[in-house]
């Protein structure tokens, strides 16, 4: 892994940060630490952070990645924003169900559906 290369792509959609992952597998500890610091930096930089993380193209995900999502979710809420998740393939959604994190996160089938009523407006 090249530490200088971002592991995420972020686009601004009318005040909502839409995040996608560069990698198919979110397993490597160093990569997860890098993703975590990038997400936290972006959450910290926003006054009321609204973030949508799309898992389109993601095939594997570890519990360390779940930990990062929990941290980002808590930070976003603390700063008056919200985190939503979308485009999670069934095998990964099962991980959320087993850990019962589907109760903690706002999860939508598609990014378009997640964006409905999301953000400052």
């Amino acid at each position: 892994m090249n530490p200088g290369t971002s592991r995420i792509r972020v686009t601004d959609l009318d005040g909502v940060m839409r995040v996608e992952f560069v990698d198919r597998d979110i397993l490597d500890e160093a990569a997860i630490r890098q993703i975590s610091s990038e997400l936290v930096r972006r959450i910290d930089a926003a006054s009321a952070p609204f973030m949508l993380i799309s898992f389109r193209g993601v095939e594997h995900l570890s519990s360390a990645a779940l930990g990062t999502l929990i941290t980002v979710n808590s930070l976003a809420k603390k700063r008056g924003g919200q985190l939503r998740l979308s485009d999670i393939k069934p095998s990964i959604l099962e991980v959320f169900v087993i850990t019962k994190l589907n109760k903690l996160f706002h999860i939508s089938d598609t990014a378009e559906r997640a964006l409905e009523g999301f953000g400052r407006t």
Binding site: E29, H60, S62, S63, G67, I70, N73, T99, K100
Partner: protein, 143 residues
């Protein structure tokens, strides 16, 4: 890796963290499973469990000491995939790990690796002081 899917694939590796060795071992195991007709869902479950076990070994067992390694041993045939993951730490008592699915623990960002292993593998048990995890996955019988 064995070239024959009829033969069992056996091996071991002493891993260092962040060296690319974990990915190489994971790729070899995935190939051995594929050759023995494990489904994609089974390979997903096994890969996740191995990843969690190795990371638990490095982070909790070895306490992220870069001088310590995690040993992985595997045996894979057409019916079962069995793994041993052994760290160089002092061990732990797996019965006192908090349940991360309780409402009061949902927002704690760590502690889900072991429960995922137990959910996905057919069997998982610790030996000795708790620094040696043995886990196995029985291939579902096709209807």
């Amino acid at each position: 890796m064995s070239p024959s899917p009829d033969a069992a694939d056996e091996g071991s590796s002493h891993l260092r963290e962040e060296s690319g060795e974990i990915e190489r071992v994971q790729a070899g195991i995935a190939q051995a499973l594929l050759e023995r007709h494990y489904s994609q869902a089974s390979i997903f479950a096994i890969r996740l469990s191995i990843e969690e076990a190795i990371m638990n070994g490095f982070q909790h067992g070895n306490r992220a000491d870069p001088n310590k390694r995690v040993e992985v041993r595997w045996f894979i045939d057409r019916t079962i995939a069995r793994f041993h993951v052994i760290d160089e730490g002092e061990g732990f008592d797996p019965t006192v790990v908090p349940d991360p699915t309780l409402d009061e623990n949902l927002e704690i960002p760590s502690g889900r690796g072991l429960m995922l292993i137990r959910a996905y593998m057919s069997e998982a048990r610790y030996h000795g002081l708790g620094n040696h995890l043995e886990m196995s996955f029985r291939k579902p019988v096709s209807p």
